[in-house]
Symmetry: C2
Amino acid sequence: MTIDKTEILKALAHPVRVSFLEWMREPEQHFCDQAHPLEMGICANQFEKKCGLSQSTVSAHLATLEKAGLIKTNRVGQWAFYRRDEDNIASFLNDLKSTL
Amino acid sequence: MTIDKTEILKALAHPVRVSFLEWMREPEQHFCDQAHPLEMGICANQFEKKCGLSQSTVSAHLATLEKAGLIKTNRVGQWAFYRRDEDNIASFLNDLKSTL
DNA sequence: TATGTATATCGGATTTTTCCGATTTAAAGA
DNA sequence: TCTTTAAATCGGAAAAATCCGATATACATA
């Protein structure tokens, strides 16, 4: 599946989801208290603590970002670790710059 | 009032509004049948014909783009002419590239 | 002044998005 | 196996977005 600009723009239409992406740019600044090494990605529960929304709501926001191709999920044991999909993000930004 | 990234991203969350902006990049290609000179901007009714939505809906979409600062309005007589606000669009794209 | 044209705004129906608590699923550890 | 923990999914309420037709406003012209 190729990247869908409309789906990405809809994913970026909620400020919390944009914050998630921005926080993941600098994990050591925003998730310095994570028990697991930041190289694994950011654990879902970290976002809950930081944004104050419920577990199910955060899970849905992360799923929206993943469906749009903006983040990738890495499941280890009972945890889910998230990281930015830099390739897709860069492709989207280039696409936007050249078409918008 | 400064540019509001969240408001802009919400404005871009509807594909019709993105199309409006893209069409305005190349007026001579997309609005070659406009009675008024394209240098005045694009007349509101041109968007209606091209997207098939009702007059009131198109007016609302244009208002959303203007509120976000993505387009500028030029009223002449009974007409409203729209053009892209290139400065704000460029600022937004730079902001997005450096923060997202 | 009366009529026609272009756009904005209003009122309301429909759809989509957002959010939460409860439940389910899956893995970890006692 | 039983319990705990983490995350996904379900069900439904509330809020926001979308869309249209009708009406209002503003300008042009007869």
